[in-house]
Amino acid sequence: MNLKKYLVRALHRLQKGPGYTYKELLVWYCDNTNTHGPKRIIKEGPKKKFIWFFLTLLFASLVFWQWGILINTYLSYNVTSSLSIGFKTMKFPAVTVCNANPFKYSEVKHLLQELDRLIEAALERILQPTPGNSSENVSPPLNLQLWNQIPLVLIDEHDKDNPVILDIFETNQTAGGNETAAGNETDASNGTAGGNQSSCSHQGSDNCTYRNFTSAAQAVTEWYILQSTSILSRVPLQERIRMGYQAEDMILACLYGAEPCNYKNFTQIYHPDHGNCYIFNWGMDEEALNSSNPGAEFGLKLILDISQQDYIPYLSSAAGARLMLHQQKSFPFLKDQGIYAMAGTETSIGVLVDELERMGYPYSDCTVNGSDVPVQNLYSQYNTSYSIQACLRSCFQNHMVEICGCGHYMFPLPEGVNYCNNEDNPGWAYCYSSLRSSIKQRQICIDSCKETCNDTQYKMTISMADWPSEASEDWIFHILSYERDMSTNVTLDRNGIIKLNIYFQEYNYRTISESAATTIVWLLSSLGGQFGFWMGGSVLCLIEFGEIIIDSLWITIINVIGWCKGLKRRRAQARYPDAPPTVSELVEAHTNLGFQQEAVGALPRDEALPPEPGTPPPNYDSLRVQPLDVLGPDSDAE
């Protein structure tokens, strides 16, 4: 009941209007508002009034303009970077150590035997083109099946338009036809072009491409890598791990700070490029080690043996250990970020951790854990975190599987796919090399992979010295040989031994962290500052202004309604040309019938009609207003 009464009152209040005119409202607003300009407008004389009016308008537009700029700035999501440098106790980086050579030659010899003999013969051909060479007579016949899939050829480019292509083993199957080929090669070696390598897809000889090399050395190496990859990819993983370097053979001594460590502290991982790699402090099963002191004394000291005598001669021409510092739980991409350590030297590596912490979306386009990248991360099988290198390689491997039907040996496999080899996929080399040189494919991968938000790099200061010194050489080799092989003979030599010191520098971190340059607090205070600066206003002033707008709208609506009603009434009046009878007239018409105009005959019908059109609706309304006036103060008080 109360509510109804309240609603009726409210309705009446609404109908009544705010009770003042536009001008009153405006003057009242100007005088009472808290913004600074309007007050002046009404308080000054006409000339100043005009000036102040102009100034107020100007300031208001300035405020809005600058607000626009501020909001724009806010929406552009700028960041500020802060840099901090210093020393703090930090997680020691994970250290991956590999041998540059993936497998012990003594272990893989039986697999590569055919290939080696083939390449030796080919080299013989290239280097000693003079006929009457006796070496071939002694060696058993070569397996030319490998050769025929991807032959090495010489391209004589003396005549640019018609290059002469010569297979090194000129005639295909028979080993006896060598002499004729040899004569041709003499010309070729005079030519500008060196060794070349051709690969054909299995569909037919039309689909052949020649990969040109200006240097025979390069051609031979590439060719050998391609062939050996194909051979080794058929070997099961366990076997491959066995053929690589074992931790106890490779890691001779280990010291972390003052604590001794040994090969058991290293996690083994199989890396397709480098065979068995060993990771110190990877943090997969155990807690990552912290280092709280700078300097070589408190870092990691390693002595490695790379046994250079057991290298595969054609596979890797550089000898040394490959090592890399990386974050815990990340996969080491040695080809990209690895460094070499030379045999017979002591390599000291001072580390500075260079970190970049970025804000994610919408500030910059980076990914926190790679879950929003549309590439299947193949390296997740190692339980490692996302990185851009992992993404790019996964992207390549996925394309490879899609196009060539098999996976490349250098990258992990998606489920249910096998590695490429010459027997099952005869055209894979062609497919791979065309994919590898495809710029489009690279661009797709670059576009779909995102960098991580936390970018950590290890800045290394590398220095080297000869180790062991001539004076200490003897006893060091003795002890190390004894410890490893339990023999009194020296089984190590200068060409295989490497010492590594990895430690934090005096300043061990440099962190660049981003923070939002414009927060909502910044935006509000800047908006407030602008408004305050030009007009001395605040949010309350805006509310005041809003109130005025509502009030004026209210007045407008009431006026419009009033005007409409007026219009209607006028129309109604227009239909009855005479003025409508007043109340007294009507009353009299009822009481004093004699006063009525004479309309003989139509009298009974006329009696019903006149009162209805005679009372126009607006009149009622205006009547109602009077009693409602009493209600007015009441509702105001509310």
Binding site: S364, R442, E451, G528
Partner: protein
Amino acid sequence: AATAPGKKITARLKRTLPVRGPQAPTLSELMRWYCLNTNTHGCRRIVVSRGRLRRLLWILLTLSAVGLILWQCAELLMNYYSASVSVTVQFQKLPFPAVTICNINPYKYSAMKEYLSELDKETKKALETFYGFSEGKSKVRRSVDEWNSTGSDFFQQIPLLKVEDFSRTVIDLHSGQKRKIEGSVFHKDSSIVNSGDSNDIIGFQLCDANNSSECALYTFSSGVNAIQEWYKLHYMNIMAQIPLETKEKLSYSADDLLLTCFFDGLSCDKRHFTRFHHPLHGNCYTFNSGQNGTILSTSTGGSEYGLQVVLYIDEADYNPFLVTSTGAKIIVHDQNEYPFIEDIGTEIETAAATSIGMHFTRSRKLSKPYSDCTETGADIPVENLYNKSYSLQICLHSCFQKAMVDSCGCAQYAQPLPAGAEYCNYKKNPNWMYCYYRLHEKFVKEQLGCQQICKDACSFKEWALTTSIAQWPSTVSEDWMLRVLSWDKGQKLNKKLNKTDLANLMVFYKDLNERFISENPANTLVILLSNFGGQLGLWMSCSVVCVIEIVEVFFIDSLSIVMRRQWQRAKKWWNGRKRAGSGKAGSGKAGSGKAPQAGDVERQGHDNPVCIDEDLPTFTTALRLPLPRDSPLPRTPPPNYSTLRLETAFTEQLPDTLELGQH
């Protein structure tokens, strides 16, 4: 009564469009009016507060607020030109930088024999005389004999000297004479020289040819340095006389230097390299110099996809005195940059594979007024001699060269030639070496002003290099590798390659993350203004409107009041003088003129409507308020009153001004 129509109109005009001066007749009234009506907060309290202590407090508070505002705003202004740094990392396809490779030895020694034979003989003789060292007895004998016969006077002019520091006497290399040295002694390794030591010091003397008493003696603590410096001095003299084409022929060709080349998984050859002649390093070769308009780029990181070259370093053909180390020098730079290989090159070892991982960083500074750097170098008054984009190094070298040409009359050999100048040699400029050393000393001591003129460039690209070395070729692959490489080298080389003649170099991007460090203005005008607004609002709720008010009241209005006062006084004084001259009636009128004015002031003090508080009167002030008049319309809002009141304030004032007008 019947006034003239013109006057009526002006009176009417004055009523409708009153010319209003200040709203108060006196300064104190003006201040009072201002304090009550101003939009700033503190002022009002001063006037409204009752009690001396409270008023004093408010005055203090207001003043300190003003002080704080001024201080903070000054601080804001001073910090306006500060920059904030932003670091962005972008993963993208990166342009491969230009890689310039030089042999450490500039020219083939065998080819240089005819130019350098005399100098070498001289050097060997010096070695023999001072240190008793000889390579082979017969060889030296012969050379000494030859020297006796050919004897160059240039070597005599600047001979190597043995200084006995004790007695300050020198022994000449040729004559063996002892003589006293005059002039100043410069020690190249000054702090190490120990005068009490029995060791003799080797050095050389440079004299001003025009004025032989002006001599400088350069001594070195070690004979190694002395002989190298001395050799270099003469070497530059000789090289300056050889034309560029000949020098290019004397140096290594691309075929000589580059054995194999491999880039981004594809083979490359000498056509990808551009020759660049460096005065001190001979022919250098720049990979990806961008000269044919295309700049190569890499879209994959890692050693396979970078540049791999095998260099042929012909160790046997090295100049024994000029360079003492073996290998190559490389520098990674932008295509537009000049490679200052002698300053910032990285040396490459032979018989090793050097892998250089790059990390790309681009930096950008804000130029004036944020920092003192130059965008293009166009605003630096030093001519760029290098034909490459501006850098600090280029500026310093150009500046020195210019000073050299100005003061010595010829150009130094290691730097490019300015227009119209030629390189120094002692046939044409016998005096140049003394001049050069003097000038160089001035340059190092920053007396030439080059360091002041030259500014650093605003944006630069940097490739951070991580260098590591592996043994190459490995012992097992050495055999076939060398054989195949010898075959690659072709028939031109009739001997088998040695592994110390070879260097393997890999230059690649470690990752394709480009770091871009840029400075941005920390403040924009908008932010400065909003900070101002924040300060003004916080302390006094002031805005630009208040500032305008202050200007209006304190400058325009008070000035006009003072002026009016002065005008009235002057008028009064003038009238008084006139009256004093005419009669005594004037004095009475003057008195009557003054009385109403005082009354005005008093009245205004009490019920000057503008004094009335419009918001929240305190209790005491509320008591003093005049009762609000009955309003005929209950809903007419308060503003009407005050505007009306203002009107009355002015009408009351009007007679005053009218009176003035009548006088």
